[in-house]
Homo-oligomer: 146 residues x 2
Amino acid sequence: MELGRLNHIGVATPSIAESIRYYRDVMGATHITEPFDLPSQGVKVCFVDTPGAGGTEGTQIELIEPLGPDSPVAKWMEKKPYGGQHHVCYEVEDIEEARSWFEGLGKTILGPTRIGAHGTPIFFLHPKDMMGQLTEIMETPKGGGH
Amino acid sequence: MELGRLNHIGVATPSIAESIRYYRDVMGATHITEPFDLPSQGVKVCFVDTPGAGGTEGTQIELIEPLGPDSPVAKWMEKKPYGGQHHVCYEVEDIEEARSWFEGLGKTILGPTRIGAHGTPIFFLHPKDMMGQLTEIMETPKGGGH
C-alpha cells in the first residue's frame, strides 16, 4: 500500500457549537461546514478547512460531538471531558484493496466497511495495532476534492 | 489571526525506529526523514511526509520519542505507553504577532518562543485553553517548503 493523503484529523468535542466559535474566533478559520448528524457513527459532524500548500485544500479538522450517551465517542470522552484528538484519516484509492491489506497484516478492523462523513466507504483500525492511533481509512471521493 | 497550514501533527512513540517501520511497512510511507535529537524539547524527532492535494506537500507526521525520563513527553506517555496523538502544529506568518494574539485572548502559553524542529520559532499553547489539544504555533519557513 502507498501512503495516501491525510484527509482529516478527528477531534472530539463536547459541543460542536463551542468548537466552531473556537476555530473561527481563536484560530481564525474562515471555512467551516454546517454540522450534520451521522447516526451510523453516533456523532454530529462538521469540517474545518485548513489551507494546503500552494493554494490547495489542506487536511481538514473533523469535529465530532457524541449524539448521545451510547455513542462510542461519548465513552471515549469519559476520560477526556474537554475533548481532543480522536483519530486520523488517510485516503486510499480502493477501499476493498486497503481492507485486504490490513487484514493480511493481522490488524484489528473495527466493524464493517460503511459510508463515512464524506459519502465514501470507510473503516476504522484499532489503535492498539496502529502505534496508539485510532486510524480511519477512507476511499478518495471520485472527482477529487474532499 | 487567519488559520494557517496544518504543518504537522505530533505523534508520540516509545520507539522512533519501530514507528518508522510501521509508517513504511504498514502505512506505505516513502519519505521519512533521518531522526535527530532536539534536546531543547527533550525529544528525538523525525518527519513522515504525506502527499497533499495536487502533488503538493501534505501535512507531516512528526514522530517524537522522549530523550529520557525527564522529557515532558515521557511524562505524557506514562498514561499512554504505546504513544499516540500528542499535538497539532499550525503555521503563522509572524510568530510575535501570533504570540500577542493568543496572549490577548488570555491563552496559556507554555514557556518562551524557541526554535523548533523545522528551524523556525515556535511556541506551545496549553490544551485546557485549546479545546483539549496541545497546540504548537510555528512560523512558516522562509522560501516555502516545510
